[in-house]
Symmetry: C2
Subunit: 356 residues, 2 copies
Amino acid sequence: MGGGGGVASTTVVESREWYLAAYAPENVPTSDHLKLRTVTVSLEYDSIADQHLALQLLFISVDPYLRSTITGREGDLYLPQPPLNKALTGFGIARVVRSKNNNFNEGDIVINPFSPIAEYYVVPSDFLRKIDLSANIALPNYLSCLGIPGLTAWVAIEVIGNPKPGSNIFISAAAGGVGMLAGQLAKLKGCRVVGSTGSDKKVQLLKDEFGYDEGFNYHKESDFDAALAKYFPNGIDIYLDNVGGKMLDAVLNHINIGGHIVISGMMSQYNKIPAEREGVKNLLNMVGKDVKMEGFLCGSYLNKIGEFTQQMEKYIKEEKIKPKHKINQGIESFYESFASLFSSSNLGKVIVQVAI
Amino acid sequence: MGGGGGVASTTVVESREWYLAAYAPENVPTSDHLKLRTVTVSLEYDSIADQHLALQLLFISVDPYLRSTITGREGDLYLPQPPLNKALTGFGIARVVRSKNNNFNEGDIVINPFSPIAEYYVVPSDFLRKIDLSANIALPNYLSCLGIPGLTAWVAIEVIGNPKPGSNIFISAAAGGVGMLAGQLAKLKGCRVVGSTGSDKKVQLLKDEFGYDEGFNYHKESDFDAALAKYFPNGIDIYLDNVGGKMLDAVLNHINIGGHIVISGMMSQYNKIPAEREGVKNLLNMVGKDVKMEGFLCGSYLNKIGEFTQQMEKYIKEEKIKPKHKINQGIESFYESFASLFSSSNLGKVIVQVAI
């Protein structure tokens, strides 16, 4: 993690970047939609505008929400649809290789929430935040427990759900980037936590590494109602929904009076056009059982980021929160990494390491 | 409203009562399910147990929620299913004709939330509340603005929704027992209020008598999305859902960021078995728009009944709330009154007057 020395004497570099060739309204996007190309980027000092930086991407976060930003359809998650033929953006960690802002030095490591998925790029310094390397936290954590998935899990459990000790908590996509952290946060609050996930290996992970009390592989359950009756003999107090659809419908039959459903995403629905999404039929239960259901984007809770960061850094240092990362190497692995989100194949938060 | 003199010298009376002959799991219940019969009731003083009263029913409320109590299926609204062959119960107003409780005198008028739908009956005095006739409020009001529909509307608008002046409020089943009051309460808070209802006549009622800014007849709208886009150019801030199904799905496309959906009932779904209910497909909007959805039974807010009653009585006396009642005469009209709830044919809250 030196001072970007490898590119210091170069003025023009080749940079591979992922761009959107076509919107993908439904199904898992393919290599027809997401394409890699090589461009050149000038790192010549004089070519960089004031208050701009040239950055080298080190890590890029691979998140399910990205799916809804490339449908070509405004709506759904209310994130802007990026233009075609431009580099896609995501949550990234980068090294400063040229700086025209006095607050940043060459070699600084920064978080860029709108990072082009490109090996090198030049951007204004507006949204960049410097990482304090003296905190001695491994960089991928800034994309998981200290990034979007961490904030999402923390808001769901600490702010919206806010369970009492002993509450029965159900989490779907429980081994995913958000679920693995939400489960650990709920355990720290003294709850009984059960998760659903997509493979037996991940069920084991839930119990062995993330401290879940129970877990089940939803691919092996033909009847979600029966599964929930088995794992929640006393009903569900809080459900953290990351999948939507049939699982949400079954939860509505097992939620307790005064229960709370917190929706951070709907993984099972992202690849469907709205008309083909699974209808949820059991909402009437919300009336008879005084149920609250609440969706949120973690971007709406940025005012709490200080409190979040402080608490999460403490948990990481005390090893009370143990993140798990699936780190794929090289920018060329971005598409496969993204597609893998939809195949239940990952153990932990998916990250691409672009450079060292 | 005398002292029950008409029955004072009689010791045994004939009493017609509605009883449940069979559960109705789906469709509008018919006269095969709800039947009228004549029984005899002893009013002999010595035959009445201590702390019991003999009552003559004057008014009975006819409410949509009753539908879900006769499906034979526990669940949904979590109200107990009554036994077959016994008199059905509802929210009623009755006159005391015999009293074995010193707190009640013959001639007192009482509210009975669990009143048999019967001309005469003997019950323990536990759940009865005396009406203070000096308040000079017409009795049917105790079944509408001061009863279940009033408390439901008040909780939805004042407690859960709590809109700011200028908020855009949408109410379905807007001319029904709950809707007509919720709309007026929202107008008193300075909101812009639009309602959907089932006939042109009722649209007129919304605007002319209840003060709604706009209204539309949902039977005439083939595309709810288009209708909502027209009536809510600035989106919906709060939706009071009394119908569920397709209308709820369309609202999810027009709800504003931070919007609130308050569900007090789902009229369109009551006559369907759970598997055949309309699936709601647009819940993903809740994530992108930070939407809260909250179901409730007004019975969960009984701790607020004092505050509710005080505010509502004030509004009634000041004529700020104008209830409208559809009063059908004679206990024999109960079944037709109940079935009419599902045909969009009523103007105002449906009540059966059983005696004068």
